[in-house]
């Protein structure tokens, strides 16, 4: 990331310092790149300008774990792992399994909208974040949402900031709804033969009255697809569901697996060329089979979101996925545009950007359509 080299790093110690740093950069026409743990700085297009790196390293406190209300308010620079350790003291968690939790920060996962396989049961960050503080390029400190799970007062700006790649403002703190840690958990792996069988099994499991909390299929070069299912809850509940999974799997071999199969996505995401795809759940096999010759390594979840490592042909795959109504975002690898087609709402997105960051101070050029 050559563009990082000449940038000056600032580490504000509180919200007011973030506001002051942004205001002064904005006035001086300097481009600001917000940074949390730095694990996903290469995601998106390289910024067209980068003068100041605004690090959230000093904003790392868990401000309030209201465990009896199942909420937490945390500063943006806190790592996900640190937050989870705090929450676990009261038997709770932020129900999301992100990439590189020891280094990834709250601000970073929100801005990149990272999510893992638990999304099937608990939703993605947009469903878990209930309040946010956003500092705009002109220094405005704007709070939206709140500290209660149910709240429809004012616009839902926590969702606007989620996945905005830091182009609208710098997130300084967020409030989340929490879930209890599961009493027990078990992962089952089904040897799925080929992509077609995996596809059928996936739709069968999704249409059944199971209450699994995650489901993924691992595709590998010259290997049979492996489907992982996570069951959480009481021992009795898990046992009866395991029985049901074995029934539904029919002739396919079902084995109990170690929990680290859920780290498979991380391995794919660490490849030198990798994309995040989003397709309809019923289109998973056909998407993978199109690339059969290239033998991609991929992890695709029941929601239709997947990570594909592929040295060549990502642009072809994008064209196919988009023509089926899906999307493909290149996270790492050579490309002219990481994002693909943002659709007919692009002018509206530009208008939103223009309203909140008229000078293009924050992460210029990094997001869709040159935003």
């Amino acid at each position: 990331m050559d563009w990082l080299r000449d940038a000056r790093v600032v580490e504000p110690a509180n919200e007011d310092e973030v506001s002051a740093a942004l205001r002064s950069a904005d006035q001086d026409g300097l481009a600001v790149i917000p940074r949390g743990g730095g694990t996903k700085l290469d995601w998106g297009n390289p910024p067209s300008r980068a003068d100041v790196i605004l690090s959230t390293a000093k904003l790392h406190r868990v401000l309030e774990h209201a465990w009896a209300d199942l909420t937490v308010t945390v500063e943006a620079g806190c790592t996900v792992a640190d937050l989870q350790r705090t929450l676990a003291q009261h038997g709770q968690r932020l129900a999301i399994d992100v990439l590189w939790p020891e280094r990834a920060t709250i601000g970073g996962i929100l801005s990149t909208n990272d999510s893992g396989a638990l999304r099937l049961a608990y939703g993605s960050l947009r469903d878990l974040v209930i309040g946010i503080t956003l500092v705009l390029a002109d220094g405005t400190i704007a709070r939206s949402g709140g500290k209660v799970v149910k709240n429809v007062a004012g616009y839902d700006l926590p969702k606007l900031a989620t996945g905005a790649m830091g182009t609208l403002g710098v997130i300084t703190q967020a409030t989340f709804r929490l879930h209890p840690l599961p009493r027990n958990a078990r992962t089952l792996t089904i040897a799925a033969g080929n992509p077609e069988i995996a596809q059928t099994l996936l739709l069968t499991m999704e249409a059944a009255t199971l209450a699994h909390t995650a489901l993924q299929v691992r595709f590998g070069a010259n290997a049979e697809p492996q489907m992982d299912i996570l069951l959480e809850g009481t021992e009795a509940g898990i046992a009866s569901q395991e029985e049901r999974v074995r029934e539904l799997a029919g002739a396919a071999v079902v084995t109990e697996a170690a929990a680290d199969v859920w780290k498979a996505r991380e391995k794919v995401a660490e490849s030198s060329a990798v994309a995040k795809i989003s397709v309809l759940p019923s289109h998973i096999a056909k998407t993978i089979e199109r690339q059969a010759k290239a033998c991609p390594t991929a992890v695709v979840q029941a929601t239709g979101i997947g990570w594909v490592a592929l040295d060549a042909g990502l642009m072809d795959l994008r064209a196919q996925v988009e023509s089926d109504g899906g999307s493909l975002v290149i996270l790492r690898g050579r490309c002219t545009d990481a994002w693909g087609d943002p659709g007919d709402a692009l002018p509206l997105m530009r208008a939103v950007k223009h309203q909140l960051d008229p000078k293009g101070t924050l992460n210029p050029g990094r997001f869709v359509g040159g935003i």
């Binding site: 429809v152 997105m349 869709v368």
Partner: protein, 488 residues
């Protein structure tokens, strides 16, 4: 009522050419039907009501409104409780009632595409045969529309576990206030770009009009168990709720009613609730073995917090009866009081005992009774402030008490609305919950969607913010001339 200045016969003729003769209402007696929504204390007769039948017609109406600077208010079934569909003076109402087709059902992918006028419960009815349901279930679900649910981000009793409307909306086709058609979100998840669908849901009609909505439907769980637990008072019932959460359970719903609410429900729909000080209605769902284990645990928790009677619904009919009393609670209060205000506030759930005590003493001080119905799991309160309009001063006292309850919610770190919206009713309260810069930032987002401030322009914000840049000649906005808004 005279035709407002902006709606000349020429303009009415032009509107008519878009929607057809019969889909434009302009006779005073027809317009009166649209003067208010479910919140009847605000009334404005609109200049005209249009009932478009297609996206193209909605676009045509919006373009004309844009050209002539006519403010418009979109309306679903008119069941809203915050005045969100209250017409704007000089403006038109666009009713989406005729756009009521279910366009696509894709069960393998658990998606349903609907027009905005589709009734909430009809989505479930369409997919129930295959064991699916549409999760957001506001109490008005048999009459309210999906378009209205999108505008308000409606909740319901089961959102504790399943989430709100926004959780279940994947994509929207939207007519912007200048008539442009845009697609927000996709049938697939995480579409590249800003999550504008997330911003649109719950924007109370201020950002445009949704003409097509892609919903997620959910598989009905294998087993549902519904129980009623009778406690001496709401204090014990509240403590039991804390116990349930602390035990790591996430029931599908936890509802609470106090004695007055129980009496009202009993008088109206006879659910045969136990006559007690605090009643919990708890629903567990999931795989049968899981539910059975948790139900035993739930029983213990309730008893250890003083429940003297626990009833488990044995049949689907009995379950429906348990819910009937709760869902009819607002309307039932009419049986025990001539007039009442339905309030909607949120507190952190742990503040429940405290706020109940305060509401009780406020009620006693003003000589008014307050019935309480809560979504107890998520701290969403619906105090029902009862009064008699015929007694001098009672209405004002009831309004004051109702507003004071909202202030208490803010003081406790909660919100002024959990599901009914800000609308016309609470726009001045919004300034007590958010600072000027917070509200200003929201309005900057609004300016991106609606720079001329035409779409439901007088709602949500205490002071509508005119947007900086205006294309073409300066035309004073009706709100500006009326002194309601100012230009920045």
């Amino acid at each position: 009522m005279p035709v407002p200045p902006s709606l000349t016969p020429e303009i009415l003729r032009e509107f008519r050419s878009i929607v057809g003769e019969r889909a434009l209402l302009s006779a005073p007696d027809e317009l009166r039907t649209y003067e208010c929504d479910g919140l009847t204390n605000f009334r404005v007769i609109p200049g005209a009501v249009l009932l478009p039948a297609s996206t193209e017609e909605v676009q045509g109406i919006a373009r004309l409104c844009h050209r002539e600077r006519i403010p418009f208010v979109a309306r679903g079934a008119g069941t809203g409780l915050s005045g969100g569909a209250l017409p704007v003076v000089n403006g038109i109402v666009i009713s989406l009632a005729r756009m009521n087709r279910i366009l696509e059902v894709d069960l393998p992918n658990q998606r349903v595409v609907v027009e905005p006028g589709v009734i909430n419960v009809d989505v479930t009815n369409r997919v129930a045969h295959a064991g699916y349901f549409y999760a957001p279930d506001p109490s008005s679900q048999t009459v309210c529309s999906i378009g209205g649910n999108v505008a308000e981000n409606s909740g319901g009793a089961h959102c504790l576990k399943y989430g709100f409307t926004t959780t279940h909306v994947l994509a929207l086709e939207v007519v912007l206030p200048d008539g442009t058609l845009v697609h927000l979100g996709k049938k697939t998840l995480d579409a590249p770009g800003y999550d504008l669908a997330g911003v649109f849901v719950g924007s109370e009609g201020t950002l445009g009009i949704a003409t097509k909505i892609t919903l997620r439907v959910v598989k009905r769980p294998e087993c549902i168990q519904t129980l009623l637990a009778a406690f001496p008072s709401t204090n014990e019932a509240g403590a039991a709720v804390s116990g349930i959460i602390a035990a790591g359970m996430l029931p599908a719903a936890i509802e609470m009613m106090d004695n007055l609410a129980i009496q009202a429900a009993e008088a109206a729909v006879h659910p045969h609730y136990p006559d007690c000080g605090g009643l919990l209605l708890v629903e567990l769902d999931g795989p049968e073995a899981e539910v059975r284990t948790l139900a035993a645990h739930l029983d213990e928790i309730c008893r250890s917090h003083g429940a003297w009677e626990i009833r488990v619904a044995q049949t689907e009919t009995e379950r429906a009866l348990f819910w009937k009393g709760r869902k009819a609670a607002f309307a039932s209060v009419g049986r025990i009081s001539p007039n009442y205000i339905v309030q909607d506030g949120v507190i952190p759930r742990t503040a429940l005992p405290e706020i109940l005590r305060e509401i009780e003493s406020l009620g006693a001080a003003s000589g008014l009774r307050v019935a309480n119905v809560f979504h107890a799991g998520d701290g969403n309160l619906h105090p029902l402030v009862m009064y008699d309009r015929r007694i001098a001063g009672q209405e004002q006292a009831a309004e004051a008490l109702s507003l004071r309850i909202l202030e208490l919610c803010i003081e406790k770190g909660g919100s002024i609305t959990g599901e009914h919206g800000v609308g016309e009713d609470k726009k001045y309260m919004l300034a007590k919950m958010f600072s000027e810069p917070d509200l200003d930032t929201m309005q900057r987002v609004r300016c991106a969607f609606d720079p001329l401030l035409l779409s439901n322009p007088t709602k949500i914000f205490p002071r509508p913010r005119m947007c900086g840049e205006q294309p073409g000649e300066y035309v004073p906005h009706p709100l500006e001339t009326a002194g309601v808004a100012e230009r920045f």
